[in-house]
């Protein structure tokens, strides 16, 4: 038995597995960190904290806060959609018809969803033309700005469209796995109103089962790139767009800043993930 165990610990294939997962990240992060501290690079003048200081002021900090806010509101909207849809499918007799439709947005790549929403919501887009034909407004200038707008409405719409249905599908499956129809019936016959069932039973029970999944989607949304690239403004930008902008500029002086921001992002996600993995250990790591 001991023999077998020792052999398994030294399984060369698993060493390769760990190498494939860890080395690319380490090498990438190592290079970017070194670059950000001015130790390598074309214009390097030796160790400096300049890029990291610039990270905490001006544009970079704005991009970080904006991304955080965007992630938060996208997640809130997606959760509202998902809870509403899965609750409706639980209590309304015909609402099960909604279920197959929920899969349709999942066929859209983020790029495609972003462009489709752009085609609908831009000032000369389909919605504008439809409402114009109905006489609601008097032309392009009159139509509210819904994409590349100050409120990031377009981005929020796409995020809700992409994440909301996924969560709704999962929530419905979880509700069934929790035997929610029976639970609701019991709670109702004990005198609870539907509102009470929703807030005291439905919401917490679903969250207990899928909180980890939802938070992973939060991490995914934090790294969103294509959607704000197509539907966002040049100011404020999300972190990923900010970083790639700094990378591809002609001004090489911004490269350390880009590398600092990229490594800060990667480290932040890893720390957050570490926390998630220890907190939701049983859900995330049970094969």
């Amino acid at each position: 038995m001991m023999q077998i165990r020792r052999m398994r610990r030294l399984d060369p294939w698993l060493l390769l597995y760990v190498a494939v997962l860890v080395l690319p990240l380490l090498f990438g992060l190592g290079y970017s960190l070194a670059y950000s501290f001015g130790m390598i690079g074309l214009l390097s003048e030796g160790f400096s904290l300049g890029a990291w200081q610039r990270l905490f002021e001006g544009d970079a900090a704005d991009a970080f806060l904006y991304t955080l806010a965007l992630t938060f509101w996208s997640l809130v909207l997606a959760l509202v959609f998902a809870y509403a849809a899965s609750w409706a499918m639980l209590i309304r007799p015909g609402a099960g018809r909604l279920y197959p439709w929920l899969f349709v947005p999942l066929t859209l790549a983020p790029v495609v969803a972003a462009f489709a929403v752009f085609a609908w919501l831009n000032p000369a887009g389909l919605l504008s033309r439809l409402t114009f034909a109905l006489g609601v407004h008097d032309g392009v200038q009159d139509f509210p700005r819904l994409v590349q707008d100050a409120g990031s409405i377009g981005i929020l719409v796409v995020h809700t469209l992409l994440v909301g249905p996924v969560l709704a599908i999962v929530f419905r499956q979880q509700a069934n796995a929790e035997r929610m129809p029976a639970l609701r019936k019991t709670a109702r016959s004990l005198g609870a109103s539907d509102a009470v069932v929703f807030f005291r039973v439905f919401v917490p029970a679903i969250w207990r089962r899928s909180g980890a999944f939802v938070l992973l989607y939060g991490v995914y949304l934090f790294g969103t790139y294509e959607v704000p690239l197509l539907l966002g403004r040049s100011q404020p930008r999300v972190l990923t767009v900010y970083i790639t902008d700094q990378m591809t500029r002609f001004d090489l002086g911004n490269l350390p800043l880009a590398h600092a921001a990229a490594s800060a992002y990667a480290l932040a996600v890893m720390i957050l993930l570490l926390r998630l993995l220890t907190r939701w250990n049983r859900r995330l790591l049970q094969p």
Binding site: R9, D11, W13, L14, Y17, V18, L21, P24, L25, Y31, Y35, P93, G94, G96, R97, L98, Y99, P100, W101, F103, V104, P105, T107, L108, A109, V111, V112, A119, W120, L126, R129, L130, A133, V140, I169, V170, Q173, N176, A177, R179, P181, R209, S210, F213, L216, G223, Y225, E226, T240, T244, M247, A258, Y265, V269, L273, W280, R283, L284, Q286, P287
Partner: protein, 277 residues
């Protein structure tokens, strides 16, 4: 009563069909031309020109479609088979939780950031702007997902079954051909398609590592948008939606990620009132 119920269902179908609007919008934009502002139906000019351009490869779209299919197909095939096999090794190891946890890291750091972190190395090794380079970069984050996905297949129950089969005398080949593959086949199919979609939907990393020389459909779509050609973008977008739509028709569980222990999912019980796992 029955009639009323049917009616209610119809209403919900209508609400649900709102989710098809983005796709319908794309279809519409792909068949109009000279699309000045108020034109909608009566005064719009309908044409199949944009689709013909795709068919004749006038705008590089047909090439892009082939490239995307080749890239995503090969990434999915190799990552899913390797992931299936490796997940088995991981699941049988005493430190399986730690090993599995590692797979979350490359998978969850945004691919575009991975592209930024890796760009230098890819340039140094001469992989930047090549098909192989993009393939490798995508593989490095699709493979971890495959492992996480297939870990669900190699669960406690299945490992016990394997143990039983082994103690009944099944040797290695018999174990794989007689137990693992027959039971794992539906998982392999779903996992394969999910890996395909991960690669199929990817834009940021492909752009950074491929530096525009590996023009997949996502790259083409963004190019069309940037050069203000909505019709081309709509055709490209529809081409990208087509394979997922076919998959949806075949088996919708393909679209359920099984990461984050979402309990239900990939090989799902679609039937209502299914008990807990």
């Amino acid at each position: 009563m029955q009639k009323q119920k049917k009616h209610a269902g119809l209403g919900w179908s209508l609400v649900g069909s709102l989710l098809v609007l983005p796709l319908l919008g794309l279809v519409y934009v792909s068949v109009v031309e000279q699309w000045r502002f108020p034109a909608l139906f009566g005064d719009a000019r309908f044409t199949l020109r944009h689709w013909q351009a795709f068919w004749n490869n006038g705008n590089g779209l047909r090439g892009g479609l082939g490239l995307s299919l080749l890239l995503s197909g090969s990434v999915a095939l190799s990552a899913a088979t390797a992931g299936f096999w490796m997940a088995g090794r991981v699941a049988r190891h005493p430190q399986r939780r730690f090993l599995l946890g590692l797979a979350y890291f490359p998978y969850l750091v945004a691919p575009v950031i991975l592209g930024v972190l890796w760009q230098h190395w890819w340039v140094r090794f001469g992989w930047s702007g090549t098909f192989g380079g993009v393939f490798l970069a995508q593989w490095l984050f699709v493979f971890p997902y495959a492992v996480l996905f297939f870990a669900g297949f190699w669960n406690d129950r299945f490992r016990k079954l394997l143990f039983q089969a082994r103690s009944l005398g099944a040797y290695r080949r018999k174990l794989w051909l007689g137990v693992v593959l027959p039971m794992g086949l539906p998982w392999l199919a779903v996992g394969l398609f999910q890996c395909f979609l991960l690669s199929w939907f990817e834009y940021g990393m492909t752009q950074l590592i491929g530096v525009g020389k590996v023009p997949t459909l996502t790259i083409r779509t963004v190019l069309f948008v940037q050069e203000a050609n909505p019709h081309g973008a709509a055709v490209a977008g529809l081409l990208m939606a087509l394979p997922p739509l076919v998959l949806l028709g075949l088996n919708r569980s393909v679209f359920l990620r099984r990461v984050g222990g979402s309990g239900a999912s990939a090989i799902p019980t679609d039937e209502p009132h299914a008990g807990p796992r």
